[in-house]
Symmetry: C2
Amino acid sequence: MTQARLMDGTALARRIVEETAKRAADITERTGTAPCLATVLVGEDPASVTYVRMKRNRCRTAGITSRHVPLPADTTTEQLVGTLRELSADPGVHGILLQHPMGPHIDERAAFEAIAPEKDVDGVTFASFATMSFGLPGFVSCTPGGIMRLLDEYGVDPAGRRAVVVGRSAILGKPAGMLLLARDATVTYCHSRTTDLSAAVREADIVVAAVGRPRLIRGQDVKPGAVVIDAGYSPGNVGDVDFDSAVKRASLITPVPGGVGPMTIATLLEQTVDAAARQLGV
Amino acid sequence: MTQARLMDGTALARRIVEETAKRAADITERTGTAPCLATVLVGEDPASVTYVRMKRNRCRTAGITSRHVPLPADTTTEQLVGTLRELSADPGVHGILLQHPMGPHIDERAAFEAIAPEKDVDGVTFASFATMSFGLPGFVSCTPGGIMRLLDEYGVDPAGRRAVVVGRSAILGKPAGMLLLARDATVTYCHSRTTDLSAAVREADIVVAAVGRPRLIRGQDVKPGAVVIDAGYSPGNVGDVDFDSAVKRASLITPVPGGVGPMTIATLLEQTVDAAARQLGV
């Protein structure tokens, strides 16, 4: 029994961050201004605090300034929208990251839409979703964007291949499918209401699992030779794919951790520098 | 051999237009203002002139005022955007229809984005695409919206069923798939780069053909008992589905003409009245 080759997101992300750091340094030297990412955090959810800290640390290593905007847990949607509009209008900020999910009292969509599309480096606005969907220039959602980079890195051309995306969230499943479609894959969206998930997944040359249900996709569901992208994460470093059985059927597979995960922040940093370059005219 | 039942778009559209006319009359009586659709036409392409005339005639029969804005063929994108922004800001206009496709010198996307989302009754803006995709309130693209109404009318619940959309245009295939996904179908997008279209279509409980290639889908590609929606149109009243063979396999099928076609204008009128009701506060 052969084993799939691992898609090493850690190594690819490192290289992207190194290249991004060089570009950031170049922008800083030429303009006197470092690329700046505003990180907006509502409340003190421990996981969110950790994510934001990781992102800010990674910014630092890449020569990107981060401006942290912590807001109290009882911030209203109106106040949050006001803050995001100010940051959108602030020429010293090139990219905006609004950490989410937020509390149920926040209208998340209203908040996202207060981010100017040209600063939407996390790819959460309607405009970003549409440009991804229509194959137009714009920012991508970071995890789906990272998935496409991984496929490119490992020479997987989606054109003409069957891709099955399991999951349909606004920032992961849906845009991942749209990016694959823009690259000419034949794309199927599966989800919790899909009646025969195994049958659908077995059609796939490329599987993207993005639901956050531990080991939902088993090896027997994987078409021999398929490319398996596990974008799921559950506590204990468990993905949406049963790695041990899937690795025996796939040709390429992402490990968890070290597959899709590192690509998300790398894409965020890269897009922040893209945004800064455009806004600073370099 | 049994034959599929026909999905009569003409009858359903007529009923929707009648209901819309009642609502338009009610709005006019209560506010003193009739719902108003601005129709913007660049140049004098005969087909476009005909389409706009049809839409305006239909508005008239439904008690909707139409304000026609004909622009010369050499109108620039900038001028068109200016006109659309004025109409977006004009409180006397409740909905805006920009007839397309336009000449290649026009940046169609820039023009669409100049339409205020609350007046985008043709469902062409990024915002409308995103709200369709995320199952949020907003206007739908008229043809996909009409398709969903036809499915509802004939008791077809997409939840848990395999839907295959052939075509991925911004105003037809892509939003049709997103609307089906929002209604819990397992959705596959096929297109010109799909390697085995017949195999993919044979998986479908619901087929939406939306490419404009005469008789692309043949009866042998239709799963017995499937619902077949033909949103294609080619000269000579030819759809994307080979009707004569498909009618013998499907359980429900739209004729061409008289299936999807009439639903498009009906949806446009209905959404214009929705827009007017919201803007006039009734």
